[in-house]
Amino acid sequence: MSSNLLSGSKILLECLVREKVELIFGYPGGVTLPFYDALYDHPIRHVLVRHEQNAAFAAQGYARATGKVGVCCATSGPGATNLVTGLVDAMMDSIPIVALTGQVSSKLMGTDAFQEADTFGITRSATKHNFLVKNIADLPQAVHEAFYIAATGRPGPVLVDVTKDVFQGQAHYTPVSEIHLPGYKVYGDGHSGQIRRAAQMMWEAERPFVYAGGGIVAANASEELRALVEMLDAPAVCTLMGLGSLPSEHSNFISMPGMHGSYAANMGMSGADLLIALGTRFDDRVTGRLAAFAPHAKVIHVDVDPAEISKNRHADLPIVGDVKLVLPRLTQELRDLDSTMKAKNAAPRQAWWKQIREWKSEHPLVAERSDREIKPQHLMAEIDRLSGGRAIVSSDVGQHQMWAAQLVRFNEPRLWINSGGLGSMGFGLPSAIGAQFARPDKLVFAVVGDGGFQMSIPELATIANHWLPIKIVVMNNGYLGMVRQWQELFYNNRLSEVELTSFPDVEKLAGAYGFKGRTVDNVNEMPQALADAVNEPGPFLLNVKVSPFENVFPMVPAGGAINEMVLRPPQPVEV
């Protein structure tokens, strides 16, 4: 073992190199000065964002696009508190990020020192785990543990709070070769007996239905999912977080279930006699009223987090394990049982598929169009056409998010990037930055609403600074559309504080940052305007004025059962 006298800052960088970190999204400040000084001539690249919240979102975009741990960095006090939304967001969607924060010197802690905040306390519930490092000797262990915890099991955000005296101090650095977290359990390939029973249940079912979630993406288990679905030949839905884990064009793929899911997806869930839930958490936006959810189905639930099993819906057959490892064993069991069991239910299964196809054709998800105005659905259809199921679409939160999820195809995992669980407005633009850094080869759309876009406008500087060829598409309806939709439907159309006036002139706005922008409000010009934006070698800001009062359908009203969807607007609404 070699041992050298190094500063805490350099030790931290050395640990990051050993964790194969290439990129940090961050913002410097008083107590991180020594760290930024060490970073000055270090090979690890640092991207200066314009607000710490966006450092966390960009780190997430990087992590979501690659599966690697994203890293963000902020100073003490306001720097750290600004990260919090991004951390909670990563927690809700199980995204592996490590946040490094500076803390005031250990001697000053607890004295209300300048830019002091109790980061360790504040982020306790915002992270999977957090560390406070007050002693330089503890630094390497904490950093390696942080990366391990972030990336393994159910991934999530981990924060390491480092005091200024640790950054500045000197210590003999001995590389860490192992870590020991006796209380941290990472689950593996599942229980053999349970897997065998699950396979039997799958062949015995007459109306099996696969319900795949973000866990498939997190575990990089798309191929394994596909093999299982094909072996079983069952219809499958992917949740908002799981989109792309089964290719949108796969013949077994139905679409997204839930509040704004398709008719076939929700009717399929409701009619199934066996729900095969894989890496998913029975979120309220998927299940609707729990008591009425999938009332005829037994549930097989595979999840790496034992606390998700039977949390919302009782699992008749739980398997605690990593879907990447469990699914191939399930597929193998299905194969082994095949000859004896597959033929048995051939007739009811054919009837099941017939029913599913009928549901699909009765109420397909089709993009509405008009020749007078730009329907937001039409815009999504054009994005879909240009993407061909291959582009990264980083979305914000709201109506545009739902339309994009419904209408844009994703033929690979890690193309659809959005804030699912927390629903953080302002996410889409900075996460696109992270995704574009992670995948410079990919066409990246930042599909945002006029509300969320204005929460992240400062990051246009980051985009210009690095000349990232992101195509920012603002679906501009002049309203906080989703809130307006609920006010229209459930609050007597009293539109309270949802109108967004004074949206800036995007040509001037983008121009002020040195790149091109354009507003389009003519439906005949929209497809070409979008294509032009894509063909532009650099960044592009396209402001698309869509019809202001369009609502997202199908819709399951809050508290409703998912088979009681509202499929169309009741009647045109005059406002």
Binding site: V17, R124, H144, S177, E178, G183, V186, P306, A307
Partner: protein, 183 residues
């Protein structure tokens, strides 16, 4: 309904906050909490009594078991377990009732730990209901003040503790040593 949770956890700063945070973020009020080192000084044993909704009991235990610093969380509410509590009680006495107080203490197998002309400090242990009675009786003799330890519980089940082994991490990659050489 009161739930009794026994936890074995790493004796580290912040570990207590993580456990109590899981309860407070669900709006549960902690009735009592005791924590102290075990035979292994790197570990602590904690007993929590909490008013939890019955349908959330299992979920709370699962969430506690997920905490990195928690080695094992067990619901001992209904399980084979013994629970005890300690109370220190100060009672004012008069010349006339001193003997009666001492007799009563004896009945509860309590011990006098301090005696003055003003009164006694008495130590009693037992299950919480029995201590309630003890306190009730003592208050009838004179002005009393009590400090209770909160419940400590010991499971009678010999549940096997499953710990994760060390994992290799951070060992030098080929590219990792540039810095050290430069120093």
């Amino acid at each position: 309904m009161q739930q009794i949770i026994s936890l074995l956890m790493e004796n580290k700063p912040g570990a207590l906050m993580r456990v109590t945070g899981l309860l407070s973020q669900r709006g549960y009020n902690i009735e009592s909490l005791t924590v102290a080192r075990t035979l292994d000084p790197t570990l602590s044993r904690m007993t929590i009594a909490v008013e939890a909704e019955p349908q959330m009991r299992a979920q709370v235990i699962k969430q506690m078991n997920k905490l990195i610093n928690v080695l094992q969380a067990t619901d001992v509410t209904d399980g084979p377990a013994v629970s005890r509590e300690l109370v220190l009680l100060r009672v004012r006495s008069t010349q006339q009732n001193r003997t009666a107080i001492l007799k009563e203490a004896e009945i509860f197998q309590a011990r006098v730990v301090d005696s003055t002309t003003e009164g006694f400090v008495i130590e009693a242990t037992g299950d919480s209901e029995k201590l309630d009675e003890f306190i009730e009786v003592m208050r009838s003799y004179g002005e009393s003040e009590v400090t209770r330890s909160g419940t400590v519980a010991m499971s009678l089940d010999n549940k096997k503790l499953r710990l994760s082994p060390p994992v290799p991490r951070g060992s030098a990659g080929e590219e990792a040593l540039e810095l050290q050489e430069a120093e």
